[in-house]
C-alpha cells in the first residue's frame, strides 16, 4: 500500500469491488447472508474499515465453499448472523467505535479529575 492509497483509500475501493464481484456470483440466499454479514461487521470497523477486509474475505470464502458443497445458508450460519459476526471479530483486537468512545470518555474523565486534584 503506497502513501496515496493510504490517504485516498483507493486500494480499499478496489478490494471492495473485488468482494462485490465475488458476492455477485453467489446464489440469492447466500448473497442475502453476505449483505447481513457486512451490515453486522460494520459495527466493528475502524475508521476506514481496513481491519475488516481479512475478516470479510474469510466470511465470503466460507460462503463460496458452502455453495460448492451444496449447503444452504441456514446450514452454514444457523439463525444467528450477528452472533457469528461477533465471534468472527472477537478477540482479534478488532477495535470498535464503541471501544474508542469508551476510551475517550475514560481519558476525559481522568483528565478532569486530575485537574481537580482528585
Amino acid at each position: 500500500m503506497n502513501f496515496r492509497e493510504t490517504v485516498t483509500g483507493s486500494d480499499l475501493t478496489r478490494e471492495w469491488k473485488a468482494f462485490e464481484a465475488r458476492a455477485k456470483a453467489l446464489p440469492d440466499g447466500h448473497r442475502a447472508a453476505w449483505e447481513q454479514i457486512k451490515a453486522n461487521l460494520f459495527l466493528y470497523g475502524d475508521f476506514t474499515g481496513r481491519n475488516l477486509l481479512p475478516i470479510l474475505d474469510g466470511a465470503l470464502g466460507l460462503l463460496e465453499e458452502s455453495v460448492a458443497d451444496g449447503q444452504g445458508v441456514h446450514e452454514v450460519l444457523g439463525d444467528d448472523i450477528p452472533g457469528f459476526c461477533a465471534a468472527l471479530v472477537g478477540g482479534k483486537g478488532a477495535r470498535t467505535h464503541r471501544d474508542r468512545w469508551r476510551e475517550q470518555l475514560n481519558g476525559n474523565v481522568a483528565r478532569k479529575l486530575s485537574r481537580l486534584g482528585g
Binding site: 466460507l62 460448492a68 450460519l77 444457523g78 465471534a87
Partner: protein, 108 residues
C-alpha cells in the same frame, strides 16, 4: 437433543481439536462429524469461528489445497502447541465431568 449448543459452547473448541488430532481435515468435514455425533445444531459458521480462534492462538497448522469444485479449501492439522492444548482440555473435562457425576450421585 435440542438446545445443546449453550451447554456445548465451552467444550466445542476441545471437540474440534480432538477431531483435527485424528487427521488433517477441513471445516465442512468437521461440522459433519459433529452432526453425526449427535450435535445436530452445530453449523459450519460456528466451526469456522472456532477454527479462526485456533489459528489465531497458534494451535493449528493451516494448508490451502485445491478442491474438486469451488475455491481452495483450508485444511487444519494440530501442531505441538495444539496437542498440548488438547491434553489440557481432556484434563479439565475429566475434572468437570467427575465433579458433576459426583454431584448427581449425591456425593457433593
Amino acid at each position: 437433543m435440542d438446545d445443546l449448543t449453550e451447554m456445548l459452547k465451552g467444550t466445542l473448541e476441545g471437540c474440534v481439536l480432538e477431531i483435527i488430532a485424528g487427521e488433517e481435515t477441513y471445516g465442512y468435514a468437521i461440522t459433519r462429524r459433529l452432526n453425526e455425533l449427535g450435535f445436530a445444531d452445530v453449523v459450519e459458521g460456528t466451526v469456522y469461528t472456532i477454527l479462526l480462534r485456533l489459528e489465531r492462538n497458534g494451535l493449528v497448522q493451516v494448508t490451502k489445497r485445491p478442491s474438486g469444485v469451488g475455491p481452495p479449501r483450508k485444511f487444519y492439522a494440530l501442531n505441538d502447541a495444539g496437542r498440548e492444548e488438547l491434553a489440557r482440555f481432556w484434563a479439565k473435562w475429566q475434572y468437570v465431568s467427575s465433579r458433576i457425576d459426583k454431584l448427581k450421585e449425591g456425593g457433593g
